[in-house]
Symmetry: C2
Subunit: 658 residues, 2 copies
Amino acid sequence: MAEKTKELVESWSFLDTVESNFRPLVVIELAKGTKEETIEWFTKRIMDKKANGGAQLLIKPLVTENGVENIYLVGASHLRLLLGAETVGLVKECSDNSMRTFTYSSRKTFKDFADDNHNFLTMAECQYIIKHELENLRAKDEKMIPGYPQAKLYPGKSIVRRLLTSGILVQIFPLHDREELKKLRHSWYGRVKVGYQPLDDIRCYFGETIALYFGFLEYFTFALIPMAVIGIPYYVFAWEDYDKYVMFATFNLLWSTVILEVWKRICAILTYRWGTLLMKRQFEEPRPGFHGVLGINPVTGREEPVYSSIKRQLRIYLVSLPFVCLCLYFSLYVMMIYFDLEQWALDYHKENESNFSSLMLYVPSIIYAVVIEVMNRIYRYAAEFLTSWENHRLESSYQNHLILKVLVFNFLNCFASLFYIAFVLFDMKLLRQSLATLLITSQILNQFAESLLPYWLQKRYNRRMKKRMCSQKTDMDLSLADQVNMEKEMGTYLGTFDDYLELFLQFGYVSLFSCVYPLAAVFAVLNNITEIYSDALKMCRVYKRPFAEPTANIGVWQLAFETMSVISVVTNCILIGMSPQVDALFPDSKMDLVLTVALVEHLLLAIKFIMAFVIPDKPRDIQMKLARLEFESLEALKQQVREDKELDCFTENFCFNK
Amino acid sequence: MAEKTKELVESWSFLDTVESNFRPLVVIELAKGTKEETIEWFTKRIMDKKANGGAQLLIKPLVTENGVENIYLVGASHLRLLLGAETVGLVKECSDNSMRTFTYSSRKTFKDFADDNHNFLTMAECQYIIKHELENLRAKDEKMIPGYPQAKLYPGKSIVRRLLTSGILVQIFPLHDREELKKLRHSWYGRVKVGYQPLDDIRCYFGETIALYFGFLEYFTFALIPMAVIGIPYYVFAWEDYDKYVMFATFNLLWSTVILEVWKRICAILTYRWGTLLMKRQFEEPRPGFHGVLGINPVTGREEPVYSSIKRQLRIYLVSLPFVCLCLYFSLYVMMIYFDLEQWALDYHKENESNFSSLMLYVPSIIYAVVIEVMNRIYRYAAEFLTSWENHRLESSYQNHLILKVLVFNFLNCFASLFYIAFVLFDMKLLRQSLATLLITSQILNQFAESLLPYWLQKRYNRRMKKRMCSQKTDMDLSLADQVNMEKEMGTYLGTFDDYLELFLQFGYVSLFSCVYPLAAVFAVLNNITEIYSDALKMCRVYKRPFAEPTANIGVWQLAFETMSVISVVTNCILIGMSPQVDALFPDSKMDLVLTVALVEHLLLAIKFIMAFVIPDKPRDIQMKLARLEFESLEALKQQVREDKELDCFTENFCFNK
């Protein structure tokens, strides 16, 4: 048996020679002056057979006019990629339109599979597979990276992660496919058109996480349109009757619940089609930045750094929590300064009564909006530093702590002044004005800082690069070497965090005070339409291509949006209750007013929860398909058990009888 | 290959002969006058080999003094039971103290496993396996049950279910083990002692669902003790200061959240130890009562009755919903009659002022409590009928609809009068008195109707039985035939629904108005202590032994209890806000009072949700164990994929190269 296995393992060597047409997929940039022995060891490990603990990928140095520059291109044979697809557990569509986990042995049952069809896996999938294989290239008995005694290794440590943390490996990034990118750009934002984004194409090119963000952005924009449409007459006809506002707010609240529930269903449809809904969660390895003394992980039984959970808790509760509280206090302090400024501007306007002074009325709000944006960005760095210092073992736990920190601060920073105006100053006019200024300023700032500025910088840089290369070639004619050199200097896309955060705050502006400023939805819709274009531009033109990341939902953001919609029920009810029109309905007793408002609020909350409970998270046909898959796997298991049993009975019954 | 399989299948015949000492586990009672051919066919199917579509169990007719009476005893060989344990996916403890899914081939790694140790599987587990095998005995090509042309069969239909629905099979029940039962009775309630219940023994004898109920009952009783202890001084020293009540209510609210969260953890510990936390959910077959035209199930692709989902929705929304609303209205109507009676009693007392008249004050409450109990029980039948008529395909869906119907009605029926007194009449004295009467009366009624009455009836019946048998034997000497005859006449335990419902309503009495009647917790504790004993008596003495049912948690009841604790936050806040003492704190403005109360309520609710979110549902060590198991299965899968790949590469690489 052992001999047979050995023989089988030898056959892996076939893989290397199957395809000679090497297609570069991923770029590895090593630091300048990396020692020869290190490079030799690393490339050998990448190319080595699986059985020897290698990744069995193809790697070639990039040869430019200036010679070899420590840049390597990684690819893989078609067969290797198919085997890798099985390892990462990709889910693809079968010929009978059902979605199944891809296995090499059942490959013939999948749609569009043919031995010579190299487009069966999308380029993004291939790059994801290569990234996965590289990250899972683990140290065997090496104690250190050859040539760098300070870069320690231990059995099972990811080599690529150690190379990255010790600065030998500068970066790994997937290559753009200029042909595909051009097509995608054209169908995405190349022409002015009314219609949906090409989400499936985006997913094929950038992977599921990014496609899901654009899907959510588009869905959210469409979902806001009814609110915007209903909001316009309030502005045009200056409807100030609060009974109309009550209607608007009630509609808004139920609407916000419904859209969040419906999104879950749409998300399930999308991710089912993309296969990620069915993908099994992989076991999470420690994140790259995690450090600690070498110990034994109680779950895996493997040697890896261990860091005491109590120490981490102490860092969280004794340092991070007080720091966050301090920042929140500081943010409130800045807010009070803003109100002083506001008062000063008002006084100035009263004294001077000129055009200039009436313009001056908006200045404090604009300054405050800018200050908020700046504070948010500075705090973001602090939060990242702190969360990293907390030394979380898992990337997901790191992300959750970071998101929680950032969300709380951003929420307070953006909305505290509005709460103060609404519930302490009771100044609805000022509330409306502040809301409008904050919303519009932050939208403009965001669009500028996020997309247009980087785009402009990138464009200028590209022009300079081209000039330096002294070539008048168009984009399409660039050689591979030029392309790699251009792309390696591009900025790195840091994930969808900021994009979701922006949408989250926008949702807050729209829903929290919807009944005093119905026009907010209109601005949100307008912003989101340009946002789609500027984000698309950013993805296609400004940043390096990011690695695809399979995902089945928008994760913690669903919870964040739902929490916001609960808070908005409370604020809207209070705002309506405070309005003079509703006040006038209860001339005799303020008590009755407050009690009615409280009753309505509780009813709305109850309806909200019941609605969230009653609307199924997945459409019926997806549920059926999932049930069918589960049934099949149970049946297969039973079948297997039965076969095993029969085998066992055959071989063991006699012993048992003795 | 096919031949080899055939050969293997033949070897199943060994199983029958392995053990000759037949141990009866399950009793099957057929209707009197069942046709010979039916009996012959049914017993043959039960004994037939797995390969021929049989259950491969042992079956023997019960021979009494009156001859054969259509009662059959079912057992199985030790080997057959072990294979069955693998089929149902039992999880047992390994020698290294980890919990693993039992497989026959890995049986040697399990704790206490030995080929001659017939106690490796508990009797309850053996009976569960036999029940599962019997229920999964499916029709092959039979079109009907032989001898009964009207009892249609189709391929895949469970034979036992069809026999049950057509009345040929009267009942199937597991036998008591008188030796074990005696031991269990002794350690459970046989001696007066302070301490925990023998939950593990209960689980071994009655299965996980029932053990978990008793675990919850015990936990809930312990959890109530702090509230009871704090509640006593309120009664003794007649503390009527509402600041003290505020403290009590706040404590109560946080406490109720904590105990529900902690229960989840304890439940995880218990079910991990019992193995059910890790048990895979089996595919759900249609429930016995489900009917419809024969069609194709889209999930399984099998032929089975199909019933239009739209028809069911119509039945639910056009018949059940209006009916429930009508019942709710009727319940409110009865409540208004109660208040008239109450008024009449009060007037009578004012006129007469005698001892008799002051006793009369309690009469309306007592009558009302009795009426509520009666209405609850009648409604229960109606709800069961309606839910059955709605024709749900799955038992779980049937249960959920039934529980929802019953919960809503019972909640209103029991608490509507209290809400009315509290928030319409504002009569705290009456509220306290009604609460006490309702609570105590319903507790006494329940204990009586649930346990003591059936116990007494059963005892009387047993005595008559014994007299008829003209034997002076003690319980222990009873022959098997006598035991079966005695047990088959016992009542059937209908599940834990009523027991949980009782606890749920009790939790309502304790928590909804805790700040006006802190003594409720004391009564609840006293009731629950006797409840443990009377329920134990009921299980051991009154009812047939129920089949064990594996379960990982208390299911929908967790949600019900959590909902109740949210409602109780609201009611307690309002009650405290209404108290004259708190009123006095805000002499100037009622508004401030109401706003403060609303603010406090929202804060408490927020704290509640954050606490529920922060407290992990499973203790850390269970989490680690689960993570370890998941990791192992992922590794095993990877290993398997790797082996498959190597095999594939070997056999297919050449074809691929062509």
